[in-house]
Symmetry: C2
Subunit: 329 residues, 2 copies
């Protein structure tokens, strides 16, 4: 398979993307197409990525400050836009970018398009968990959605859980303010009924306090709520860890204790490690488009690419298509 | 002032409420009116609460399993409903309950009513913070709201911050998926403009990752998003602390380290301590109605009552009324 890799996005771009791609390539076969500006690469590429590859030269850059739709329309020679057109023209099978999330969503919609039967693509992340990871969608692509869209998210998330996380009979929970039926806003009330009859295993409502210890394989929500949940989770984990470190380091006694509990702390950090999957698909896009975190290191990029390969080999998009068609018959 | 104290709600009710009230009464003057079933109190009340007080005898109980509006309509002799009628008939100045939140909201609306100019009451909690606490509203009372309601929440939260948290010129942020203007869903887009012209200091958008390190004094949002943020915060803090403890206790080395970092851990816990304020008002209700956490201990209840007294003495409701009237002139 041929994977487009946008070298221009991450905080440590382009180096971290080339290194991550090399690690992935050492584990599995794929053909990388690097999208980027050769002038930004100081090292000899062959030294970092010693495999055959293709190159698409970009001449401008979409930054995190760019207004997404405008950037996609105007920056036609940016790495991201070149990638979208390559996907559209079947010159590649999938794309990975760690760049502007809004631009990635806009480009997926405006240039690549969606799978037939899907009304909007959803940003689908894998949350770390104490027992096992959980899939959350939509994590921020669609702000105002309908119950029908929630149903599509549930079906797509369920197929992703089955094929990429290898969960048999995955359960889907609806993010809500209480676990009893009939709770929440108009959207969740309207969605409950549709989820009960959808071709999924509907778990019922799940509260945000259970995100890290979820009884479900998949959690569905609108992109606003999903973004609030995800960012609260990231913010609280990071604030707590920093606070704990500061308090420990503020006394000699604490410093000694800190040394002794270091392995325990590392285990806690490993449990919360986002790098295990490394990339989040825009489920519902006509071609596999994956977002890597801006702060990714090479391990995250490697896992992100391996995740894309699994998604492609398991033909997740075809399975989504069949499942949605079944319903429409 | 006369404060109604619902003895029937908390996990450790009624004991924890009586003890908390006694602690508060030892610090400041007020007349307690206990709402409850004397048969449930095994000790001599005078031993736990050695002050003059009034009693309103309840004959039934609203549980957390009760459907809120139904419970308020049917359980007319429950402690909560007796309290609502006492408030309505001006027999008391404020009420504290640790019972069913939904029932408290329903009773506030159905029996006590709202301040003129307020369309809905908002559950207003004080989040712990690394530097300073932040007010968040609505934390779950109103699921589907309008920009105009967001404006009212902002005004009420701002007055509460000024009078109870003693913040001069408090700033109000809008919970959103990005910090730039124009982000979010239809509600946040519509609210931005109203907040800019409201009689508050509008900070702009604030992301959920900054909840514990908020640059604002007040954060406004709809009740669905607020509930998701709050429960994620509680869930992640609790999961992380438990996980850390388990990992530390799983080895001898860890146990020794754990002893040494105990003071640091206690400081982190103190930073996140919800008990400092102990109660959350339903801002906008015609009379001060405060919710305490079901798991409150006596310190939380004591602080909850002191919080009510401050709210009453500062005449927060009159100030809200004047501010809303100003706008309507």
């Amino acid at each position: 398979m041929r994977i487009l890799i946008d070298l221009m996005g991450a905080d440590k771009a382009p180096g971290v993307l080339l290194k991550g791609a090399a690690l992935a390539r050492s584990k599995t076969a794929f053909e990388a197409v690097f999208l980027g500006d050769k002038n930004e690469i100081t090292n000899d590429i062959k030294e970092v990525y010693p495999y055959d590859h293709l190159w698409m030269e970009s001449e401008e850059k979409i930054t995190n400050e760019d207004e997404p739709a405008m950037a996609i329309r105007r920056k036609k020679k940016s790495s991201m836009v070149l990638g979208f057109h390559a996907l559209k023209n079947d010159e590649a099978d999938a794309m990975l970018s760690a760049g502007n999330t809004g631009a990635l969503l806009a480009g997926a919609t405006l240039i690549v398009g969606r799978l037939p039967g899907v009304d909007r693509a959803a940003l689908t992340i894998i949350l770390p968990g104490v027992q096992k990871p959980t899939i959350l969608l939509d994590a921020g692509a669609n702000m105002d959605i309908s119950p029908e869209l929630m149903r599509q998210f549930a079906i797509m998330g369920s197929i992703y859980a089955q094929n990429v996380l290898k969960r048999e009979n995955p359960t889907v929970g609806l993010l809500n303010v209480g676990s009893e039926r009939g709770k929440g806003n108009q959207l969740t009330k309207g969605s409950e009924k549709l989820l009960e009859t959808a071709p999924i295993h509907f778990y019922g409502n799940i509260e945000a306090r259970d995100l890290l210890e979820s009884p479900c394989d998949v959690i569905v929500c609108d992109g606003f709520a999903g973004n609030v949940a995800l960012k609260t989770l990231e913010g609280v984990s990071s604030t707590l860890m920093t606070l704990l470190k500061d308090k420990i380091m503020s006394s000699t006694r604490g410093k000694l204790g800190g040394l002794l509990i270091k392995p325990a702390l590392m285990e806690v950090k490993a449990t919360l490690d986002y790098r295990e999957f490394g990339s989040a698909p825009l489920l519902g896009a006509a071609k596999p488009i994956f977002k890597a975190h801006g702060s990714s290191d090479e391990i995250a990029i490697m896992n992100g690419i391996l995740n894309i390969k699994e998604f492609y080999q398991q033909q997740v998009n075809s399975k989504i298509l069949s499942c949605l068609e079944e319903k429409n018959d």
